[in-house]
Amino acid sequence: MRISVIGVLTVFMILCAFAQKAGKITNAEEILAKTVKAVDGVKDFSAVIDAEVNMDRVQIPKMHAELFFKKPDKVHFSSQSFLLVPREGIAFNPATLQAHYLPTSAVRDTVEGKILFKLLLAAKDSQTRLRSLSLWVDPSNWTVTKMETVPYEGRTLAMDFVYELQQEKYWLPSKMVAAFSSESDKRQKEAPQSTENQFDGPQRSLPRNGKVTVVYSNYKINIDLPDSIFEKKKTE
């Protein structure tokens, strides 16, 4: 009896170990390399972006601009009016991640019924703004569909990407949703607030929760954008 119990437990443990091994992908670097290769042919592009900010205590009308991107990481925006875009993900380039991050692990993860690879990336340089990232890669087209990070203490940033096939060969984002959340903001919301406008001053460092949605359209790929476009002074 005792021997059969030990036998069953042993078989169970072996099965668990196999299951764990089956879920874990050892070639995380290879997965990241495939995401890079998927858009390797894109040297530069321009796209029209329409952005909508839906954040606590922020009222900004819908924004419209033209985005210019050139490898490796040159970005420029052309807009007639004010533009506010997330620091991360607006011109997402897996090659930049490959250059600055080391994939530490990769596992299979099911997101909304779809099996994706979840990669954990650690910054190679301690000076890199985002120290670690979680990426979800869709193996059907090797695109990064989701990214999560902690840009600074107490703050969480989650980005979801939707892709469309451009020029019948490049999967580029057609929509990006960046969701910001923080613990201190929740506490602030729960705290009683004054109703008098006259008491209010600017609350300068208060983080805000919410989403920014960016819709990309009218891609023009590999149009040999001159470097001069990116040299214009940006009013950041």
Binding site: R57, N197, Q198, D200, P202
Partner: protein, 278 residues
Amino acid sequence: MIRLIYYELIKIFLKKRTYLGFGIVLLIVPLVEIAMKLEGGRYLSMAMRGLSRDFLFFGNIFNGWFVAHQLMNSLWLHIPLLISFVAGDQLAGEATAGTYRLILIKPVSRTRIFISKYITTIIYTVIFVFFLAALSIGLALALLGRGDLIIMNRNILLLPESEVAWRFVIAYGLAALTMVTIASLSFFFSSFVENAIGPIVATMGLLIVCTVITVMPVELFELPRKFLFTRYLDLWQRSFLEPIPWNEIKIGLLSLGAWTLSAVLGAWSVFVRKDILS
């Protein structure tokens, strides 16, 4: 009546004290705006520091509209003093100069003289406020250019440039109406005394007391503060909210109107019964 107002306007604009307010505005507005231009939007950068951790900004938000709005925000408590310099002198100044008797022996009723003086005070107040508007907006736009207007208080609101000009017109219109209430109070105090210093001090004293009651978070003041004119001194700020709270503006205007009417009727009541001894 028009001729009476015309003469009162001549009298008011022949007095040096009338230009004191204009002179101060001419000094302070360029000083602040040039300083803000030289500083290059450091204040705005600091105010936006929280957002800049998560976002990139593009576009000229440190522009003339922003500076003009900031200036308006910082002056709304000081302009009443400059208004009361003139409004407080309207009736008391006649007593000081010993000209009460002279103007009241004319075949014109006291009420007509009173109305002409009051209308002149309103005209001065409106001219003064719109002088401030023209100078602060005009100079700011010339120095820093145009663009969307960013408003920062509890919320961050961005108004497209196409909406900014008419909102400033409404804001300065509301500011002018608020200052008419201050002028009326000063005019009221002016009807009691024979020296213009008294009405100025009384107006500012009332303003300070009412402002303290308005802004102090003391439960005991909850009821009285609802009726104080100082609650609506910043009524103009409502024109920079989205959507504009017209109902709140209407209530504010009614409250200010009630204070104005009370002050004018009070001043008239004192003026027509006054024994002229000077």
